[in-house]
């Protein structure tokens, strides 16, 4: 390639007068650039060699290193060319002086007279205003997608009602006798979509003596089994953590925890908030056991499911019509 560079050359244009001032030649810089370019070529060749050895350990890292070094050499060569070989001079440009007063007046006159063809200036201006407002609204309105604002009705709807059976992910009914303590289960309503907001439950079992549910919820936990909405009341993440003490006498008590912001709820006392940013308790689902031993919902949740939007805190949930 270097030999090819020795081929045809254009005649030099010496006879014209110079615009750029002549600078002193710098053979050292030229050699440096050449060395850097050769280094880049070597690294790029190294990339190809490494690429050929498929079973090399840390091949990706060597590939990245070779290519990165190659680019770095090219960049260094460009820096040397720019700083030491290209002739440069410093020019300072002053700010333009203010125009002549008479020219300014002429310009004002020009602007005024240019509008002489408008007969309905106000109407056109209000039209422009309408267009601007509409475009601005079109830019702002998609922010509504950040959360339900006008219609929060969907947040209150859950598929749970009295008699709905609790099933696991594969649709198998949950039986009271199969629910073990010290672990947690995810349950869904039989025959409803898993994706629905109010559908997923977290189910845990305690010894009935461990539970301290509020008085109206005494009958909600047959055999010590309690069910809560799996959707955190803070930001709507899934309650995926169950803290289970091995020796409750001295270890932190049982808790359902959301991994997003560590909202911590007490499953033994009706989903009370123990820690974290959640503003209201985890909604509890009342349960009963059917004659076949299966777990069923005895009604709807104790409170609205999911994250807390303005106005969602107080109204009780309902079933879709």
């Amino acid at each position: 390639m270097l030999l090819l560079g020795r081929g045809r050359r254009r005649p030099r244009l010496d006879e014209r007068p110079r615009i750029v001032p002549a600078g002193a030649p710098d053979p050292g810089a030229e050699w440096l650039v050449l060395a850097l370019l050769l280094g880049a070529a070597l690294c790029a060749a190294g990339f190809i060699v490494v690429y050929a050895f498929h079973e090399l350990a840390h091949q990706t890292q060597y590939l990245g290193l070779a290519l990165g070094l190659s680019f770095a050499f090219v960049a260094a060569a460009c820096v040397v060319v720019g700083r030491r070989l290209v002739v440069s001079e410093e020019l300072e440009e002053d700010y333009p002086l203010p125009g002549h007063p008479q020219t300014q007046e002429e310009l004002e006159q020009l602007v005024q007279e240019s509008g002489s063809r408008f007969t309905r200036k106000r109407l056109l201006l209000s039209g422009a205003g309408a267009a601007g407002t509409a475009i601005g609204a079109a830019l702002v309105v998609p922010a509504l997608a950040l959360g339900p604002f006008l219609d929060t009705g969907g947040l209150y709807e859950t598929p749970w009602r009295r008699g709905v059976r609790l099933v696991d992910e594969s649709g198998r009914p949950l039986l009271l006798d199969e629910i073990a303590a010290h672990t947690f289960y995810t349950a869904f309503p039989q025959g409803a979509g898993h994706e629905q907001f109010g559908a997923p439950l977290v189910v845990v079992r305690f010894a009935p003596s461990q539970l301290h549910l509020p008085a109206p919820r005494r009958g909600w936990a047959p055999g010590g089994v309690v069910a809560y909405s799996k959707i955190c009341t803070h930001a709507g993440c899934a309650i995926a953590l169950f803290r289970k003490p091995t020796f409750p006498a001295i270890e932190p008590g049982p808790a359902l925890i959301c991994p997003c912001h560590y909202s911590t709820f007490d499953p033994t006392s009706g989903g009370r908030v123990l820690f974290g940013p959640a503003g209201r308790p985890l909604p509890q689902l009342p349960l009963y056991v059917d004659p076949g031993g299966g777990l069923r919902a005895a009604g709807n949740f104790s409170g609205p499911v999911g994250p807390s939007w303005s106005g969602v805190r107080s109204r009780p949930p309902r079933n879709p019509a």
Binding site: T60, A75, H182, R243, P245, A249, I250, P252, Y262, L274
Partner: protein, 251 residues
Amino acid sequence: MIRLATLAAVALVLPGAAAAQPGVGVQAKTGPALYAAYCLSCHGIAGSGISSRSHPSGALGLRGLGPPLRGVGALAADFYLSTGYMPLQSPYDEPLHTASSFDRAQIAALVAYVASFGHGPAIPKPHPERGSVSLGLALFTDHCAGCHQVAAEGGYVTNAVAPPLHKASPVQIAEAVRVGPYLMPSFPESQISNAQLDSIIAYVETMKHPDDRGGWSIGRIGPVPEGLVSWLIGTASLLGCCLVIGRRYAR
């Protein structure tokens, strides 16, 4: 003599303080002797446990020192001893995975003694080579990743640390899933079958030496820290280049 008696009394009243450091002073070899030296002060005679309920008089109003060990079996004993979770310096500490203070023979003797307290599960024999790594990923995501992160790097729950799993052996993982040590839930066979457990272990074993294509794993916790690091390093080096190439004009 009186001083010695006082010391002995204090040691009896504050059993937690008397938990001797293994390897110091006591040269016990048999299970009962080791138990007496390192476990008895918290877990009581023959694994009866010490809580405010079992000892209502409550020495110094202690809420409890250690759970009963009857029926926990060789499985739990082997897990807690081989991981160095036990013996704990203080019963109020969170047990952490450390090098065990006991040698293999001492652990085996203690495990046999604790297992003799009552009928309990034996040490499991997992077969991760029979498991499927991809199935293990799905199961790990369902049951374990909430606390231990999907890359088994460990994480946090309120009040405790969920440990990273790169130090855990296949047997220890199988034991932990069934035992549920400290604040971890336990998973019975009805929730995670032995075959599924093999897959989970196969996945955790894979994640001990994952194929980090990019070189630096950055905790393997996703694109946010990766982006942060590349932006910080990239922006800093670009700024450095600007300083090298550019020139400051004197005003």
